[in-house]
């Protein structure tokens, strides 16, 4: 990862004032369901603590609506997706691996689908460099990270997580991550970084730190199936694919200023709850897909998921959404949807009526780098999977 040098001054940047995002019972989440989110978060927080124990240096702060943990460990190398499959790249010399673990400050769940960056500052406050921290697929714990060179003389590390561009369910709890989140970390005690990589350590891990996250998410998915009109899971190679179908529902969406992948520093947008989605049956079902890593059960963010719903008369496509942050760009796209207790890819659909349908789900192999020399050589193939006899009930929430 190349560190780009530019000018900025550390004194002009401070940690985003901490606040606790909402956790309110409503039509999208009851207390038991919110507790599922807390169980997922507890497992994630425990895994982050375990990762910190093995790091050469780490720090943690409450910034905005997130708890940001940064950890430095030996450079990893990684598996990258190419046209010929996955290819291993060794780390360059002189690099370290820097990871960011953003947790929700209320329930401690990982914040998926974000765009994260790091900047380095010297003692004089001048910026020494910056780098993107793309989402990675790690053996154990979801994180954003990269192999990079930390410039000489760094005394302050500043991490930025852009406002989440994706749609969010839940009229109360979806009202979060609308602003950029900044964490400022003094880093003067960073010494020599050596030893086994964090991923090698994670590959050898055992016990609850390995199983808790998967178990929590399994429980959450089961609860979603109980609530929804249909749902099931299939395994395909390195993936587990869960789906659920609910009534069409509203969501928050960013109103301006946000596009996925834009550089940080963009003026914050605002969130608007799309009440109009609940006024009409123009869309009358909600398709949810939760692809997971079969190895550790973790939800897989960053995918391009699409679906085809096939009824007795053939495929039925939803009406196209207005263009906007988090909106599908092609018919059949099922974009990432933040949810108060089960992250998924979701889209409101229009089907002709209640009945049994077939649901075809497709997504390409993740483009994110896989870490872990032993375990990372996986998820190289796309997924095309069909769920038969999917009962869809029509209506709005």
């Amino acid at each position: 990862m190349t560190v780009v040098t530019s000018l900025c001054h550390a004194e002009s940047i401070s940690t985003t004032p901490p606040r606790v995002p909402p956790s309110a019972v409503g039509n999208e989440a009851n207390e038991a369901q919110l507790n599922h989110a807390r169980s997922e978060g507890a497992a994630y927080a425990a895994a982050v603590a375990w990762e910190r124990d093995g790091a050469a240096w780490s720090a943690r702060t409450h910034a905005g609506e997130m708890l940001l943990t940064v950890a430095v460990s030996p450079a990893e190398g990684g598996w990258d997706l190419t046209n010929d499959g996955l290819r291993w790249t060794d780390p360059a010399s002189g690099m370290v691996h820097l990871r960011l673990f953003p947790e929700d400050a209320e329930n401690h769940r990982f914040v998926p689908g974000a765009s994260a960056h790091v900047r380095f500052f010297g003692a004089d406050g001048n910026e020494l460099g910056r780098a993107a921290l793309p989402a990675g697929i790690y053996p154990l714990t979801d994180a954003y990270g990269a192999d990079l060179s930390i410039p000489t003389g760094v005394t302050t590390l500043i991490v930025t997580v852009d406002a989440l561009p994706w749609r969010r369910h839940d009229p109360y709890n979806g009202d979060r991550y609308a602003d950029e989140t900044v964490g400022v970390f003094p880093i003067s005690k960073l010494g020599t970084v050596q030893g086994p990589t964090a991923s090698a350590r994670a590959e050898a891990a055992s016990g609850s730190v390995v199983t808790a996250s998967n178990a929590a998410l399994d429980a959450t998915v089961k609860t979603m199936w109980e609530q929804s009109n249909a749902g099931a899971e299939k395994t395909d190679g390195d993936y587990r694919i869960d789906y659920a179908v609910e009534y069409s529902e509203a969501y928050w969406e960013m109103t301006h200023g946000m596009q996925h992948g834009i550089p940080h520093g963009t003026p914050p947008g605002d969130l608007r709850y799309t009440v109009e989605n609940e006024r009409t049956t123009r869309r009358n079902a909600h398709i949810e897909v939760a692809p997971r890593d079969a190895r550790n059960g973790n939800f897989l963010p960053g995918l391009q998921v699409s679906a085809v719903v096939i009824g007795p008369e053939g495929p039925v496509a939803p009406p196209m959404d207005e263009p906007g942050p988090g909106a599908p760009t092609r018919a059949g796209d099922v974009p990432f949807m933040w949810h108060s207790w089960l992250f998924h890819y979701g889209q409101n659909w229009r089907v002709p009526g209640q009945g049994a349908y077939r649901l075809q789900v497709h997504f390409d192999a993740p483009t994110a780098r896989r870490y872990g020399r032993q375990s990372g050589n996986r998820m190289a193939k796309p997924v095309d999977i069909t769920f038969d006899d999917v009962t869809i009930k029509v209506g709005t929430k």
Partner: protein, 279 residues
């Protein structure tokens, strides 16, 4: 959620104070509001989200009628009457909402007046789709200006069911006078309901039925209307519900036009009102 309750309490106190003030200042008279209704309500199951406010501007125009309006002691024709109401509803919780109406009546041939306030509270017993029929209860307490009519408590039961692209809503209603000569008398029975076609996103036709049957066990003076309606999404956050009503009994107005302009306002949403840390 305590913040929401605080706000609701303050709003209610303000309304009571305003109403008391209005009663003290109002002219005396022996008018009554027992004629045909001035506002044609089919109360829906949905309510503002907790912490959200929903203002609605109601307007009714009596296009053709042989009925009379008792307006602060004056006996006036209803034909040409225009009635306005400003409603503000506030979601206290996801299930409970409170609010108020301020009604104004402008009869043909006389000056318009503020006539009454109405306090409302509604409670939903479930989330939509949890039960076979979505049940809610809705209370309205009428606080008329002195000389306009009697205080009364109206209780509506709301039953709502989505069938495919259609929504069916029924409001059986009981009204009890709590002041005046008829205080403590037989409750009056009413029924309103509607069927709405919800498939179109921006223009949704419907038909409503509204009836006031009069005191229980003494169904004289029945007023019934049938109203073809349409809901127009003016913007994503503004809905205009308009309808033309036709009286189908001899005690009803012949022809009315109703309009409700509803604003789904999120400026009072919790994060804006209390900050994200305040909940």
């Amino acid at each position: 959620m305590k913040g929401h309750l605080r706000i609701a309490f303050i709003v209610l106190l303000g309304l009571l104070g305003e109403t008391a003030q209005a009663q003290l200042q109002a002219p005396s008279g022996n008018g009554s509001a027992d004629g045909p209704p001035n506002f044609f309500e089919v109360q829906q199951y949905d309510q503002p989200f907790a912490g959200w406010a929903e203002p609605t501007i109601w307007t009714t125009y009596i296009g053709s009628s042989n009925q009379r309006e008792q307006h602060f002691g004056k006996d006036l024709p209803r034909q040409g009457l225009t009635a306005h109401s400003i409603e503000l509803e506030y979601g206290v919780t996801d299930r409970l909402a409170v609010g108020s109406y301020f009604d104004f009546v402008d009869p043909h041939g006389d000056s318009g007046n503020y006539t009454q306030a109405r306090l409302l509270a509604r409670y939903r017993f479930s989330n939509r789709q949890d039960l076979f029929v979505n049940p809610a209860v809705y209370f309205e307490y009428y606080l008329p200006r002195r000389g306009y009519g009697d205080k009364q408590l109206e209780t509506r039961f709301i039953a709502d069911k989505d069938i495919g692209d259609f929504r069916v809503v029924v409001n059986p209603t009981l009204s009890v006078k709590t002041s005046g000569a008829q205080s403590g008398g037989r409750p009056s029975l009413g029924l309103s309901g509607g069927i709405y076609w919800r498939k179109p996103a921006n223009v949704q036709p419907g038909v409503e039925y509204l009836a006031e049957y009069g005191p229980w066990n003494h169904f004289m003076d029945v007023k019934q209307y049938v109203l073809p309606t349409v809901d127009i999404a003016v913007t994503k956050n503004i809905v205009w519900h308009i309808g033309t009503g036709f009286g189908v009994t001899r005690n009803s107005d012949h022809f009315i036009v109703e309009s409700q302009l509803r604003f789904d306002v999120d400026v009072f949403r919790p994060s804006r009102l209390f900050g994200r840390a305040g909940r």
